[in-house]
């Protein structure tokens, strides 16, 4: 573990090498990136295995002295970041491999790999940071990497706008983080996580200050993790290449906000208000994004909203004191969402459109992608035996055990929506008749399907490290030696699991009724599942009722929320930028080019100062 600091350096090396020699290497750049991230992955796994038994390792060196303030740099390997290291380096490695096929033929192929290296470096550095200042530095660097990658197709006006939007929106959150961090420093005299927690524990920081700082830090997390109301950049960020969406907007960067809250958990746990804020924002985001997801027709935007919603779940878990549940879902989500994005990329690669209305009947054509996409969809829907089932169950139990019954039911409803819109997506893309205009569809090369298979396996099995049936290894290990993080496993009533299962199956069934039944060839269905078919026929009027009432109602709600997003959130942003622009305009109008004006301004300024001085000083 002493050598854990090497892990982020491999991708950095990849970035530098590709920056300098990328033009000469051309598409061979991919090998540089792949091999170096593989090295990171191997090291990360070694570190994780070592951390399973050994104690937390921390190394530091002096960096900067301002007056008596001593700032340090270093790295730390504890349970949480050992786990994160593996998640990040694994997904990054798989995305590197996948991109070799996906980006094939792109003119700026080496640049893409260079940016990927930069981003991975920043993300791994962020994970290893033992103090807030270092975290902040890498946090910003992650933002820069994401900016470059989202704007990669810069010939598209929308990609440029999205890159800028993502950067600015997350910056708004970052300001919260920065202020919170400085306030904490002011109160505790340190940026070190350990020392901050120690002085919080010792009661040296007042209750209001704890609440204030944790909420400010949470604002940073809200920006990065796309929580309401700073979520609007995330769907737009889908303008970036799809592997980027898998890496940044599913598994790593957006999870950084959740990771930050998890890292700062002892601080949050010291304030009930902060915890409720996190839980409420999380639950609201979960259901809010899920309803929007119902209406989207762009394959990547559906996934983007589902990411926002799932991140909301994680926040809910953390806010409900379910540390283990939040981290656990962070892990399983990283795998199945990366899988879904890569699979979506594979679909887009094959059909050259992102509009699901134009897709259909791809099941037979994409014989690898389709089952893998199905695995991802089952996992995210929380179907039993898949990873998402276990982690979502933990979250629901945590919310229930914490007494947040309203939030619990919101989460259950959001789970229903999730199952529904994910299978809506699945059916619209893969089921139904083949489209005549999609004759030349072919499966992606192995460099693309390979990583998807790995993620597919993980999307199934990764849930079993923490189950109520076979033991809660992950949970026990995560909280080992740190009681501030809560219990490894929260006991909950057994009916929660049943409710979760019923809800997700109901969602799937509804999606099936609405999007598959009508378009699917009847003999295909009847020959395979005759019983189900007869039920469908008998329940036909339910379908109608669903259509006219329930779906209508949710559509209305979703429209309403969309309205809030458009007019309230965007309106707020617009008015702020409007004021700024207006002031800038006035300022430059004053700049008339007339020297008289300039000296008048100086004189008036001087006169105003003198008058105020004379008045406040009591000379008149």
């Amino acid at each position: 573990m002493e050598n854990a600091w090497l892990i982020p350096l491999f991708p950095l090396l990849s970035f530098l090498v590709l920056l300098l020699f990328g033009k000469r290497l051309k598409e061979a750049s991919a090998y540089v990136g792949i091999l170096l991230t593989l090295a990171s992955l191997v090291f990360s796994v070694i570190v994780l295995v070592a951390r399973l038994t050994d104690a937390t390792f921390k190394a530091e060196a002096d960096w900067l002295q301002i007056g008596d303030l001593q700032l340090t740099v270093g790295f730390e390997v504890n349970q949480l970041n050992a786990l994160m290291l593996v998640i990040v380096s694994l997904v990054s490695f798989l995305v590197h491999t996948y991109s070799k096929g996906y980006m094939h033929g792109d003119e700026r192929f080496p640049v893409f790999y260079a940016y990927l290296g930069l981003f991975t470096f920043a993300m791994l550095g962020l994970v290893l940071s033992p103090n807030l200042l270092q975290t902040y530095i890498f946090w910003e660097l992650v933002g820069v990497g994401s900016f470059l990658l989202i704007g990669f197709y810069f010939n598209k006006e929308s990609a440029k706008a999205a890159a800028k939007k993502a950067f600015i929106m997350t910056r708004i959150g970052d300001v919260g983080l920065l202020i919170g961090m400085i306030l904490l420093f002011w109160q505790t005299g340190s940026f070190e996580y350990d020392e901050i927690f120690a002085s919080v524990h010792a009661g040296e920081v007042s209750g209001t200050m704890i609440t204030l700082t944790s909420i400010l830090i949470f604002i940073g997390a809200v920006g990065k993790s796309g929580q309401f109301p700073l979520h609007t950049w995330l769907p737009d960020a889908m303008e970036g290449p799809t592997p980027v969406s898998a890496l940044i907007h599913a598994a790593t960067m957006v999870a950084a906000g959740v990771y930050l809250v998890a890292t700062m958990f002892p601080l949050f746990a010291a304030s009930d208000t902060a915890m409720s804020t996190v839980a409420i924002v999380g639950a609201f985001t979960a259901i809010f994004a899920a309803t929007i997801g119902l209406t989207q027709t762009d394959i990547k935007r559906v996934l983007a909203y589902s990411t926002v919603s799932q991140l909301g779940y994680m926040m809910l878990a953390l806010g409900a004191a379910g540390y283990v549940a939040g981290v656990f879902h962070l892990m399983t989500h990283a795998f199945f969402k990366a899988l879904l994005f890569l699979a979506a990329g594979s679909v887009i690669h094959a059909v050259h459109t992102q509009d699901i209305e134009k897709m259909g009947g791809l099941w037979k054509k994409l014989s690898f992608t389709a089952p893998l996409f199905l695995i991802g969809t089952l996992a995210i829907s929380g179907v039993p035996l898949f990873s998402g089932f276990f982690s979502k169950d933990e979250i629901l139990i945590a919310a229930w055990a914490n007494g947040n019954y309203v939030l619990f039911w919101l989460a259950v409803i959001a789970a229903f929506f999730t199952a529904f819109y994910m299978f809506r997506l699945f059916f619209m893309v893969f089921a139904g008749k083949e489209r005549s205009d999609m004759k030349k569809v072919h499966e992606s090369p192995f460099t693309m399907t390979g990583p998807m298979i790995v993620l597919g396996i993980l999307a199934v099995v990764s849930g079993y490290v923490n189950t109520p049936w076979f033991g809660t290894f992950l949970g026990d290990w995560l909280v080992d030696g740190n009681e501030a993080l809560g219990h490894g496993h929260i006991e909950g009533p057994a009916w929660i699991m049943i409710v979760a299962t019923v809800v997700s199956l109901a969602g799937i069934y509804l999606a099936y009724l609405m999007y598959s039944k009508k378009t699917l060839a009847r003999d295909w269905f009847t020959s395979r599942a005759p019983t189900l078919y007869s039920i469908v026929v008998n329940k036909y009027f339910i379908d109608e009722i669903y259509n006219s009432t329930f779906v209508y109602a949710t559509k209305a709600v979703s429209l309403f929320l969309r309205f809030i997003e458009l007019f309230l959130v965007e309106g707020l942003v617009k008015s702020v930028t409007g004021i700024v622009k207006g002031l800038g305009k006035t300022g430059s109008k004053l700049q008339s080019g007339q020297v008289q004006t300039y000296s008048t301004v100086a004189f008036v300024g001087l006169a105003v100062l003198l008058i105020i001085f004379a008045l406040t000083g009591g000379y008149f």
Partner: protein
């Protein structure tokens, strides 16, 4: 004063100034007597060499105790040494840029003039940073001002350059008048022009009527000097002058001249106004009037950053950005924390490298096409990837993104503002908010460079001297961003926290 007395002074303290002076005389003569055919760029190299020698001479003086000659009118304390170092390094870099400056309408006939006027300006700044008397201080200030008026109008046949020089002279004279008026109050009340003697007299002052008059002088001197800082309310000349002046002169004005402005401001304000008690008898006037400076700092940051959003001309944009940077520096000056000197020095160090680096690229791109529209930066990454990445480093640093020297500089100022009690959290928040606004225009340039199709065809050839500037600036920007302790160690081991400033 007889000859014996004159010889008894320790003239060695002025070695760097003498070197620059000798070089100036030498260049004047050479320019006069060298045949017309000889390329005057050789004079630039001589000027550059003389600045290097002056840096070396200053290095030799670093270990010296504080000393003063000519009856305390010239003092060499840690403050003077530390800031002279910045002035010299900045000037050396600007000279390198000037050597490579080849504008379209030609500058060859009077290129020689540029170098020695430049050196006299530099000499003025050095005298300002070392003066212990209002007279020498003013002489230094005028030496700098008059040299820069001419420098701004050096492109005689260019209308904009003429306009720029004219505006600069008019505004500059007004500012000088205001400053002098303020200083006359000080002289009237104390009967002395020596900073130390004045401070001594003023400490014992307790008539509130005098304090009122001193308050007036405080504001007049501050507003007069804000011309050199390009801060509110005397900031409006900057965009017009920066736009019209030849690019190396703009670089000089925005870096060296601005640093000199801060040097003289700190020298006068801290020496004199921290000695005057307010009516309550305990708070020094400098602290009593903090809110006013804080207000001006806030307005400077807001105006600089907001108006920069509207600029299409890269030099005007950098004029506003340099106004904003003056605002950040004023935040440190307002807070007056015990790390004020360190944080201002470090910020200026970072500013020298990041701003001059950016100007090097601006000069390169704009002189080639003869226009200064931001659009000419479009697709720079396609045309010259390394140049674009270097420019990105400077811009990230100017914006204060972690990993660069600019970030550490801002962090220092920020922590300094919160460290004092009562802490200036409002000012600190305005600083953060306005830096966020600055991302819009800084990233506007980035978008142009990286995300736009190329505007110009053809390769950009980077001349040798400019290459050196770029390498030095980029390396320093990153180095001091990653290992800022190097600079702080240097400060601590050589200047002992500027304790001899008042002594």
């Amino acid at each position: 004063m007889d000859l014996e007395k004159l010889l008894s002074f320790d003239w060695g303290l002025m070695a760097p100034e003498f070197i620059i002076l000798i070089a100036t005389v030498l260049l004047t003569l050479l320019d006069l007597f060298l045949p017309k055919k000889v390329n005057r760029r050789i004079l630039g190299w001589i000027a550059f060499a003389s600045v290097l020698v002056a840096i070396a001479a200053l290095g030799g003086l670093l270990g010296e105790q504080v000393g003063s000659i000519l009856h305390d009118t010239f003092r060499l304390d840690s403050f003077a040494k530390a800031f002279k170092l910045l002035l010299l390094v900045g000037s050396a870099l600007v000279l390198l840029l000037a050597i490579d400056y080849q504008p379209k309408e030609g500058l060859n006939e009077y290129r020689g003039e540029f170098y020695y006027l430049f050196l006299t300006g530099l000499l003025g700044t050095m005298i300002m940073s070392s003066s212990g008397d209002l007279i020498t201080l003013f002489v230094g200030l005028e030496l700098l001002s008059i040299s820069s008026y001419i420098l701004a109008g050096l492109r005689k046949k260019n209308l904009k350059s003429n306009e720029s020089a004219m505006k600069y002279v008019i505004n500059g004279s007004i500012s000088t008048a205001i400053t002098l008026f303020g200083m006359s109050y000080l002289y009237g009340i104390t009967g002395s022009t020596n900073l130390k003697a004045m401070a001594g007299t003023l400490t014992t002052l307790n008539d509130p009527q005098y304090i009122y008059l001193l308050g007036l002088s405080f504001f007049m001197i501050f507003v007069g000097l804000s011309f050199k800082l390009a801060s509110v309310p005397f900031h409006m000349w900057a965009p017009d002058v920066y736009e019209g002046a030849p690019t190396p002169v703009t670089a000089f004005l925005s870096v060296v001249s601005k640093i000199a402005g801060f040097v003289i401001l700190i020298r006068v304000m801290v020496s004199i106004y921290s000695a005057i008690p307010m009516e309550d008898g305990t708070t020094p006037m400098l602290f009593g009037l903090q809110d006013f400076i804080g207000f001006l700092a806030a307005v400077t940051m807001i105006v600089g950053n907001l108006v920069a959003l509207r600029q299409r001309n890269i030099k005007r944009l950098f004029a506003y950005s340099s106004i904003a940077h003056a605002g950040y520096l004023l935040v440190a000056f307002t807070a007056m924390s015990y790390v004020m000197f360190d944080s201002i020095w470090f910020y200026m160090l970072a500013y020298v490298f990041m701003n001059l680096g950016a100007f090097a690229i601006i000069q390169l791109v704009t002189t080639k096409v003869g226009s200064e529209d931001i659009a000419h930066f479009a697709g720079l990454y396609r045309r010259a990837p390394i140049l674009a990445v270097t420019m990105a480093v400077f811009i990230l640093s100017l914006a204060g993104i972690p990993g660069t020297a600019g970030f550490i500089g801002k962090l220092n100022i920020f922590l300094g503002a919160l460290m004092v009690s009562p802490s200036h959290y409002v000012l600190a928040s305005i600083m953060i908010a306005t830096s966020v606004i600055s991302y819009f225009y800084y990233f506007g340039i980035m978008t142009q460079m990286f995300f736009r199709p190329r505007a110009e065809e053809g390769k950009l050839k980077v001349p040798a001297a400019t290459t050196a500037v770029l390498i030095i600036c980029a390396a320093a920007t990153i180095l001091f961003g990653v290992m800022p302790q190097l600079a702080f160690d240097f400060l601590q081991s050589n200047f002992n926290q500027f304790l001899d400033f008042m002594g």
